[in-house]
């Protein structure tokens, strides 16, 4: 498929026995239906931008404009806040506590806890890092909530990414839950054989070995047969493969993508040359 060609994904557009209607995930909203590369670019630019801009105001503005606003438009705001919050929680807590209390060179003491001091400079820095982390977490969560990963891979493949790389990306997504399931099965089987999985840390670590080892070895043993199965389906044919459908793209969207990237590049340049206050 030549790059840029639009494939029809029809709701009920099954011309006779054409592409089945359920192919081609169409989201409930206009934002969902944006090209996945656009959404990915937004996520990346926001994440990198939040780091480059620094300070507190910058990331906050970015989050508002590039994360919260689109989330609202897409109707996923509540889920986004919940999910991004949960995801960022461990890091957020760590970052906040460590930076608040252990900021080197902090002089303006706020309060003490035993030998550990909380400083105002530490607080400021902690908030900055927090803002940055929330921006990154929010941006990536927005992408996850509005885009099916397979859509991104299909789009990339349409633009020329090698089918093998596309395979790796898609298969990785499926491999994770498959491995979790296998681990669960093996855990159940081992428990039935009397494996002890509770108790002290040492015992839990030892209890992991009879689970992790079969999972890894079993997965590797399957590689042989799965390779043969792929060969038998013509996967080794050189060249591109036919795609049944692909997400739509449009000139305005492409323009927006380039503008975002240019904006980011400009930001980086400003920062690097010191023109932007840190």
């Amino acid at each position: 498929m030549a790059g840029g060609e639009r494939l029809n994904v029809g709701a009920g557009q099954d011309r006779g026995r054409g592409v089945p209607g359920f192919l081609g995930r169409r989201g409930p909203g206009r934002y969902h239906r944006l090209n996945p590369l656009t959404k990915a670019t937004l996520a990346t630019v926001t994440a990198i931008g939040a780091v480059v801009v620094g300070g507190l105001l910058g990331p906050a503005l970015l989050v508002a404009a590039a994360v919260l606003l689109p989330a609202l438009a897409a109707g996923v705001l509540r889920r986004l806040l919940l999910l991004a919050g949960l995801l960022a929680l461990p890091i957020a807590i760590s970052a906040f506590v460590v930076n608040l209390f252990f900021f080197p060179g902090g002089a303006d003491v706020l309060f003490r806890v035993g030998p550990i001091v909380a400083t105002a400079e530490g607080l400021g820095f902690a908030l900055e890092i927090l803002a940055r982390i929330l921006a990154i977490s929010g941006a990536v969560t927005l992408f996850y909530l509005t885009t099916h990963p397979a859509d991104l891979v299909v789009d990339l493949e349409r633009r020329g990414v090698s089918p093998r790389l596309a395979f790796v990306a898609n298969a990785s997504v499926q491999a994770v839950p498959a491995m979790v399931e296998r681990a669960a099965q093996i855990t159940a089987a081992q428990r039935a054989r009397g494996l002890d999985t509770e108790g002290s840390i040492w015992r839990r670590v030892r209890g992991l070995v009879p689970i992790v080892a079969p999972v890894i070895l079993g997965s590797i043993a399957e590689v042989e047969e799965r390779t043969m199965a792929l060969e038998a389906r013509g996967f080794t044919r050189p060249g591109r493969r036919t795609l049944l459908w692909a997400p739509r793209d449009s000139v305005p969207e492409a323009t927006v993508r380039w503008l975002m990237l240019a904006g980011l590049a400009g930001l980086v340049a400003l920062r690097a040359t010191g023109a932007w206050p840190g």
């Binding site: 359920f22 192919l23 047969e225 389906r233 080794t236 036919t242 049944l244």
Partner: protein, 273 residues
């Protein structure tokens, strides 16, 4: 298309002894051939060699000739050969591509790989879906299907490539009775439709049902080759570690038990239906 092996031998990579020795086999068009033998006797190896995966995908060394309509296919790359000969395996889950989320896309995987025009991909996919009667399953996630259903999807995926021959290596070995029934029926339907199939199986009842001809292998040789009813009734296969079909065992017991010949003949007839 006639698939033929002439004096074929095969040795796995790193093995000292060959697993196949001097096999001569002709698989004509439209015939369903069963393959029996003890484990490690060479059934799987024969399937791999006939389909071309050996040596292309797994290395090793081959001798002799494999021909399609008398044309030597030795230089054919795998993706070209897979459009003539499809091969299925025991483990249903391992045959899934692991990159698709619907049965339809899974069946379409092969034609998509071949780079065929989109309309042709769709046409082939739909006809494979129809042939295996998995229309109701097209939207389902292939990973969530039962073993038997996954095996049907796998076979459909092979058919979508448009091969003349199907090689199935113990397709029901890892299935429960319901799944076995599902797959056996599908194979029987394909057979009546005139497909050319080589199916290796331990379940000789199944072979009696669908195969016109049966081959027995032992230690890398073909030791028996003849009409299914004959070969499967031959006591020699028990020596090879193959259990005869229930019908055969029943008639033998009847003979031993002193049931008269006429009654035995009627019994055999009834079982054959």
């Amino acid at each position: 298309m006639t698939l033929a092996l002439h004096g074929v031998g095969y040795r796995y990579a790193g093995a000292t002894r060959p697993s196949l020795l001097d096999v001569d086999l002709v698989l004509p068009h439209g015939e369903v051939v069963g393959l029996v033998g003890a484990s490690e006797a060479g059934k799987t190896t024969l399937c791999l060699v006939a389909s071309g995966l050996a040596p292309r995908a797994i290395g090793g060394q081959i001798r002799g000739r494999v021909t399609l309509d008398d044309e030597d296919v030795d230089a054919w790359p795998m993706h070209r050969l897979s459009q003539r000969i499809g091969i299925g395996f025991q483990n249903p889950a391992n045959q899934l591509s692991q990159v698709t989320e619907s049965v339809f896309e899974e069946v379409a995987f092969g034609p998509m790989n071949l780079g065929l025009p989109r309309d042709e991909v769709l046409e082939r996919t739909w006809s494979a879906v129809d042939a295996l009667r998995i229309g109701p399953l097209v939207e389902r996630d292939p990973r969530r299907l039962s073993g038997g259903q996954q095996q049907l999807v796998a076979i459909a995926g092979l058919l979508a490539l448009g091969p003349d021959h199907l090689v199935l290596d113990e397709p029901t070995a890892q299935l429960d009775p319901a799944g076995t029934r599902l797959v056996a029926d599908a194979i029987a339907r394909l057979a009546t439709g005139g497909a050319s199939i080589l199916v290796a199986e331990h379940k000789t009842d199944l072979l009696l049902d669908v195969a016109a001809r049966v081959i027995a292998v032992d230690a890398g040789w073909i030791v028996l080759d003849g009409p299914a009813a004959e070969v499967l009734a031959d006591p020699a296969i028990e020596v090879l570690g193959v259990a005869p079909p229930a019908a055969v065992r029943l008639t033998r017991e009847a003979e031993r038990g002193g049931v008269p010949a006429a009654a035995r003949a009627r019994l055999a007839e009834a079982l054959a239906k």
